[in-house]
Symmetry: C2
Subunit: 154 residues, 2 copies
DNA sequence: GTATATGCAAAACTTTTGCATCCTT
DNA sequence: AAGGATGCAAAAGTTTTGCATATAC
């Protein structure tokens, strides 16, 4: 994957920084990353990519539909690779982990509401914030013993 | 309204800046305002309140439950007075107007999803973005002939 | 070879903070 | 009178931009 085909299909030159960033987003254990997270991941891999480039590339990827930008609580933008299926998010405010879910009934009601109001909807986002089971019970994330790894929340 | 009772009830001294800001949020024609919007409204009224104070007060109001902070697209925080009934939002990306709606079925499904996932949910937000009927048909906002007055979107 | 992308540094924005002064209780 | 609130200016954090250089096609 990410051999550059998807980039060219999106009308973007397959440059090294773009390939690397795409790969990071595809392969990250933590699927939701702030620009700073991506930048740090590049540094950890020993790659020299400027933070400005990370921002530029992420924004281009968003326009091209390759990634989805989220505005969770906390100011910074968070990016997630777009692998097709739409889903909503439930964020643990203690461990920072982001869980995904999809509920057809919710989607259908949203569609209905927008129709009733005469809106042409481009996008929509549903975020829930709370404490995940793991943090509640054992003080460590339900997902993999993580505790506050990503930078997506304050 | 906003004679200071609600402030004192919230454990906040009834200072002039707080009273003024509360009044602006209560009486604004546009219910969803960025900090900068509130600041400008104060200036327009001839009141001298520092921008830093606006931020401090809005954050205190949020903690006290007097206002709700939204993170729409666009980076800046948007504030709305909390008049009790929870509702969701549908934002016109052309005129910037924010419309509200409430759908019991959506609320119930959300509750159900969180329960299934073992989350204790503190808060949740559902935003839809699109083009409102007015902008689509006549190039002016359905609500009141507005066109891009508030500062909440980029 | 040419157009586009990158890196760096500087700038633009939003939001927060330190500190002296002022105001509410 | 005393504690908390405000204003100003400075700082912090995030994201964008200008411009010379490097890179993909």
């Amino acid at each position: 994957m990410s051999d550059g085909t998807d980039l060219k299909k999106a009308g973007l030159k397959a440059t090294l920084p773009r390939l690397k960033i795409l790969r990071i987003l595809e392969e990250a254990r933590v699927r939701h990353m702030a620009a700073e997270d991506v930048y740090k991941a590049l540094l950890d891999m020993g790659d020299e990519v400027g933070l400005a480039t990370v921002y530029r590339v992420l924004t281009q990827f968003e326009s091209a539909g390759l990634v989805i930008r989220h505005n969770f609580e906390g100011g910074r933008s968070v990016f997630e690779i777009n692998q097709g299926g739409h889903h909503d998010h439930i964020v643990c405010v203690e461990c920072g982990e982001v869980f995904e879910f999809y509920d057809p009934a919710i989607e259908e009601r949203q569609r209905k509401v927008a129709e009733t109001m005469g809106f042409d909807v481009d996008s929509h986002s549903l975020y829930m914030y709370g404490v995940c089971l793991g943090m509640k019970r054992e003080g460590k994330c339900s997902k993999q013993g993580r505790s506050r790894k990503s930078e997506i929340l304050p």
